[in-house]
Amino acid sequence: MRGLRRVEHVMGFPVSVRIDDEDVPEAAVDGLFAWLREVDARFSPFRPDSEVSRLDRGEVSEPGPELREVLDLCEEYRIATQGAFDVRLPGRGLDPCAVVKGWSVQRGAELLSAAGARRFCLNAGGDVIASGGPWRVGVRHPEHADRLCTVLDVTDRAVATSARYERGDHILDGRTGRPATGLLSVTVVAPTLTEADTVATAAFALGREGVGWAAARERCEVFAVDADRRVLRSAGFPAAGAEGVAAA
């Protein structure tokens, strides 16, 4: 087997890496997972001693530059969704997880690139960074864990999916404070995972109107299954050709 492969459970989800280049040192993968563990320690709202928890309790007056970057992204998307995407919901602690995940994994991918990796695929809890390519990325069917609802051909792009099937109604519509239920699943393809993941979460929070909202963003393509099991996709969504796709 050429290249490197590794799966570790970090930040509460499995992260798998496949690097096809032959000359990338194992230390690069060590560095990736060390970074993700550092992010978990610093930015998890579930750890009382994290930077996020201390900021939320008012023990820190100013966030550090990296947390500042994350919080600025959160604010950008809160305004862009008119409050549907909100990491500071009333009665709840600060929870920037939706942005931290994509942002930190994107940074992790940049560590791999800096170590010389060119053709690699990084999958963090179902969010994918495809470097080089083309990579064939299946999108999980919202109702059948062992089936796909579409397959993409992607090169140098990121793919993120937000859905209800895994953790139930965990994404709240900040405008109402109630679970977002308009969509079963929404997948966004974007140049970076920072953008793909945040746009997917924000679109999910917006519900049906989130599909058009995400599709209208520059460089974003979208594939969504709504609560009536209707599929909506943007015209430029990089669905793979029919070959190799078998109806099941």
């Binding site: 179902g126 990579w135 909202w213 209208a216 599929v231 943007s234 078998a246």
Partner: protein
């Protein structure tokens, strides 16, 4: 009210990418946060406490693509919502509406490299296709 105006202008700048008029209007993640962060830290002149809701109409702002006016609802110092009162009258406005294609939901299997989907918990992961792919090595 004077203090609220810069907030409104910044909000307009933040909303422009929503319509996708021109690539040059796109605010990358490096420039937008600074604009987006400003409203939260700029107190609205007309709100006195956290529970006060204030609705403010912005001035007409000329953009490259036409005049824009927004209405902002403040919940205390926070922007609760931003509504467009006047959108640019520009031919690209219609073209900016994204074309969505409707399809039937299909279940399929295929030869793939990886799977995108919410696989947050390890239970979900175990039953997922990604687990099979990783096991295949």
């Amino acid at each position: 009210m004077k203090r609220a105006l810069p907030v409104l202008v910044l909000s307009v700048a933040g909303l422009i990418p929503l319509w996708r008029y021109a690539p040059s209007q796109d605010t990358g993640s490096s420039s937008a946060p600074a604009e987006a962060a400003a409203p939260a830290s700029t107190p609205s002149a007309s709100s006195s406490g956290g529970a006060t809701t204030t609705v403010v109409s912005g001035s007409l702002v000329d953009t490259e693509k036409g005049p824009v006016r927004v209405e902002v609802t403040f919940d205390g110092d926070r922007i609760a919502s931003v509504r467009m009162l006047r959108q640019p009258d520009h031919p690209q406005t219609t073209a900016a509406v994204p074309r969505l294609i409707e399809e039937t939901l299909r279940a399929q299997s295929a030869d793939i490299d990886t799977v995108s989907g919410a696989t947050i918990t390890s239970d979900g992961y175990r039953e997922s296709l990604q687990a099979a792919i990783d096991a295949r090595g």
